[in-house]
């Protein structure tokens, strides 16, 4: 079991406290004190599940900039492209079916990065990550793809992941 260290508790506390202030939306003294006590208790108990790495990893300027750019520019671009395609498919009188499960190699080291890439692929309509498994030293995603254009793992990976994998590596690795 992982250990509870001070940076982990501090990072969890900052996240919880920011959430508390956003939800209550008042700066009265009793609200702030009650929030601090509750957030400290929560952080002491859950820090070792919430943070697996160094506590303030994301605050390095390079990673923070990459994260903001990813969330505001790269990911919505991919999303818009795929969304219109799938929505048009649902309105057609006879639905064109061309779906299958493909296997795609992944080159991300950090576990956070793997989770983030899998979630991004799932949120893009048309692709759902089903499993992340290791095969002969290489990590693979099994992806259900609505419109199978390519069966070769590397080419399919380029088509599905697009620009996302490069930015995820820039954020987490």
């Amino acid at each position: 079991m992982r250990k509870t260290t001070f940076p982990k508790v501090a990072a969890t506390f900052v996240v919880c406290y920011a959430f508390w202030i956003l939800v209550t939306w008042s700066l009265a003294a009793q609200e702030l004190i009650a929030g601090a006590v509750v957030c400290l208790a929560v952080a002491l108990f859950t820090a070792r599940f919430f943070i697996h790495d160094k506590g303030f990893l994301l605050l390095q300027p390079r990673r923070l900039f990459a994260l903001i750019f990813y969330c505001l520019v790269v990911f919505p671009g991919e999303l818009l492209r795929a969304n219109v395609n799938v929505a048009r498919r649902a309105f057609q009188p006879k639905i064109p079916l061309n779906s299958g499960i493909v296997k795609v190699p992944v080159h991300v080291q950090s576990t956070y990065g793997r989770a983030m890439l899998a979630d991004s692929i799932t949120l893009t309509p048309g692709t759902i990550t089903m499993e992340c498994a290791e095969d002969e030293g290489q990590l693979y995603y099994y992806i259900h793809w609505l419109d199978v254009l390519e069966e070769d793992p590397d080419k399919a990976g380029d088509m599905i992941k697009g620009r996302m994998e490069k930015w995820v590596r820039r954020i987490w690795d």
Partner: protein
């Protein structure tokens, strides 16, 4: 309220209603579980983003209420964070419990490799 703001909010609402209709129609018409799940992710993402922008504009510029705007943003954020978790879990569970994709000619690498039987699943 200015007329330009109202028109912008109306356009965003109409777009999000259209994507929600596409998602629901897809869920009713697609032939197997996995394809239905694909269209349910349309519902959860694009529809929500249009609605969130409209809601934030309305709450901040018309109602002048900061807390309502923040809550709208938080609702959108939580839906976007939790939707893919449900997607992974249900698709894997449906495959393991015996569902198969509807198109037999297309590749099914997951069934060939069967990683859920092996050790070392991450």
């Amino acid at each position: 309220m200015s007329i330009a703001l109202r028109i912008i909010i109306d356009i965003l609402l109409v777009v999000s209603c259209g994507f929600a209709l596409a998602g629901v129609l897809g869920m009713l018409r697609m032939p197997d579980v996995f394809n239905r799940m694909q269209t349910s992710t349309i519902i959860s993402v694009f529809w929500l983003l249009g609605l969130m922008v409209a809601g934030v504009l309305f709450a901040a510029l018309v109602m002048h209420s900061g807390s309502a705007a923040v809550k709208v943003v938080l609702i959108g954020l939580f839906f976007v964070l939790t939707a893919p978790v449900v997607g992974h879990a249900i698709s894997r569970a449906a495959y393991i419990s015996g569902e198969r994709p509807y198109t037999p000619l297309k590749p099914d690498k997951y069934g060939e490799d069967k990683p859920y039987d092996k050790e070392g699943i991450i």
